[in-house]
Amino acid sequence: MIDLSSINPVVLAAALMVAATPILLAAIGELVVEKAGVLNLGVEGMMITGAVTGFAVAVMTRDPYLGLLAAAVGGATISLIFAVLTQVMMANQVASGLALTLFGLGFSALLGQGFVGVSPPRTPRLDFGWLTELPVIGPILFRHDPMVYVSLILVAAVWYFLNYSRGGRILRAVGENHEAAHALGYNVRRVRILAIAFGGACAGLGGAYLSLIRVPQWTEGMTAGAGWIALALVVFSSWRPWRVVLGAYLFGGIIVLQLNLQAAGFRIPVEYLAMSPYLVTILVLVVMSSGRARKTLAAPGSLGRPFHASG
């Protein structure tokens, strides 16, 4: 039986922000990495590593914030494997990113063995006083855990950094034309390694958000493609920070909607609804990469190309 009346738009909108936050965090990190000219396909692996380290630390310390911090550190640490492979050992970026994902999935499963079925400490929601009490707007915007706001602040910070700071300008220059940046005396490798670590930290946070706040529980392979969706989101955003928010909330909406439709007893089998986020991602990729839209894509000029300074 379909009971669409059981779907409350306010609850839906509020849930959407929560559902979008993990991919938003991972995508904004990957955006910075790609702006520096590096394609790290290991987002999924870094997310799941963050999910398990964050979960483990939070459970052991009973402090969700320490857990989130640990997740960022864990994500950044594992991303450094990728950084060493691609920036020092000149390995192929596509293969190294895949390796990171395969390794991360196994590694997290190993670390997480003792944590299956355990409940993590609760992350409190923020209270904005009267704002929280507002009808409709209150529950949608002002009744979330701090990470929802952190993710948005992070996007704003990345946007400001890339467009209005010297560091951001250098990072874009390195991503656009690494030979020229090198000729001007910028350290291409250092900029890229820092960007990769930042991307790893963001992906780690995104993963921990899943295991500590959204689900909250640890299960093997729980990121279930969120990292890949985040990668697609960067393409969707045309490498612009605010468009990442738009895209993430769009996907959040689809995820939440299909869950609600499942709950409402929609007559389509659960599995078909559950594949919708992936199909929508593919659809969006197609639209973004075809025809007129492609001209506005503006991928960084050196994206995915290895750089070796000779002489």
């Binding site: 390995a91 895949l98 395969l102 594949m275 992936y278 990469s289």
Partner: protein, 361 residues
């Protein structure tokens, strides 16, 4: 300080040595990992690499498993390697494997229980077709809309897994199965089964196909103009267009071929070792095959060796899990490390390491 210096010519010797070196270092790092897990590293390594083949207690069971596990890995990896050489990254073989199995199983279930010599060949065709068709989605999106095939093929794995779940619990569920998820046992349906061809060898039609595919790939890559074009497109896309290679045709060819081989692997698995469609039918062969392809240096003969080695880690891993209580995930970590070391040491075939005076940074 260490500095890298590009070799004027890639070193052939290091090309062969790096996989061996990577395997050796993975054993060391794996040993450290096992020790950290509180297991005897030497016993664990021996359990993984030696006992499945030579320990009289386990070998009779384990040895045939080697071909059973290596068959699909080699079959998938050979297809992937052709694409990787062309710079076409099909990383969704897992999905093509699932769809191939579903299509093959659908044929079997449709004919059940009637006999007929033509049923198994039809299933083979259906399996190849299923994998091919699933791979055509990223291929056509790539050639028509320039959509990234890496993301599309990977995302389609999740879609395929959902379809598998829907089939196992819905359309393909065994009507006589008391409501349990999973299809009829195809391996017990004589006209559709993929039996062991030589007793206790592990050899089944999938393994035979894998070896045929290896020979076919060798000729294609090293003797045929198409293999040359694949290589050219991967190394210098602009030169390839200059040589008259149509990139779109190559994308369709490489993705289609690798998809069909992955689909075949899925079909032979469902009609043989896996016996039926079930929710957890796929076990990651499609992803491990990526490691196999790289470990085999994208060379058909190398892939055979790499596939056998990877199969060994699977079997040995299970054994170690059973005998030593080694967590099953540790073998996944082990395989991941292998790929890391391999990628890292690859630097040696293209660069020379020099000890140089530190240049002020």
């Amino acid at each position: 300080m260490l500095r890298l210096e590009k070799r004027p010519q890639p070193s052939a010797a290091w090309g062969w040595a790096t996989p061996v070196l990577a395997v050796a270092l993975t054993m060391v790092a794996g040993g450290i990992l096992f020790a950290a897990l509180g297991k005897d590293p030497f016993a664990a390594i021996k359990m993984i690499f030696w006992d499945p083949l030579f320990n009289p207690q386990f070998a009779s069971y384990s040895r045939p498993q080697l071909l059973v596990k290596a068959g699909p890995l080699i079959l998938i990896a050979v297809g992937l390697a052709i694409g990787f050489r062309a710079g076409i990254w099909n990383i969704g073989a897992e999905g093509q494997y699932i769809i191939g199995a579903l299509c093959g199983a659908a044929v079997a279930l449709a004919f059940f229980p009637s006999p007929g010599w033509y049923i198994f060949p039809l299933m083979v065709l259906a399996g190849a077709f299923g994998g091919w068709a699933w791979a055509m989605i990223p291929a056509i999106l790539k050639t028509r809309f320039n959509t990234n095939e890496i993301l599309v093929s990977l995302l389609l794995v999740y879609v395929a897994e959902k379809i598998l779940a829907a089939m196992a619990t819905g359309r393909m569920r065994n009507p006589d199965g008391a409501g349990f998820p999973g299809s009829r046992n195809i391996a017990q349906y004589p006209a559709a089964s993929n039996p062991e061809l030589i007793a206790n060898s592990g050899m089944h039609w999938g393994v035979v196909t894998a070896f045929i595919a290896v020979i076919f790939a060798y000729i294609l890559l090293h003797k045929h103009i198409l293999g040359y074009q694949v290589q050219l497109a991967g190394q210098a896309p602009r030169a390839a267009r200059f040589a008259g290679v149509a990139p779109a045709r190559l994308v369709v060819l490489c993705l289609g071929l690798s998809g069909a081989l992955a689909g075949l692997a899925g079909l032979f698995e469902v009609a043989g070792p896996a016996r039926m469609i079930s929710i957890d039918f796929n076990v990651g062969y499609g992803f491990t095959a990526i490691i196999v392809a790289f470990l085999g240096r994208l060379h058909p003969v190398g892939i055979v060796l790499a596939g056998l080695l990877m199969a060994l880690t699977y079997i040995g891993g299970e054994l170690a899990q059973f005998m030593l209580g080694l967590p099953s995930a540790s073998i996944q970590v082990f395989q991941g490390m292998l790929l890391f070391f391999l990628l890292a040491f690859d630097v040696l075939s293209n660069y020379r390491i020099r000890f140089a005076r530190a240049e002020a940074a």
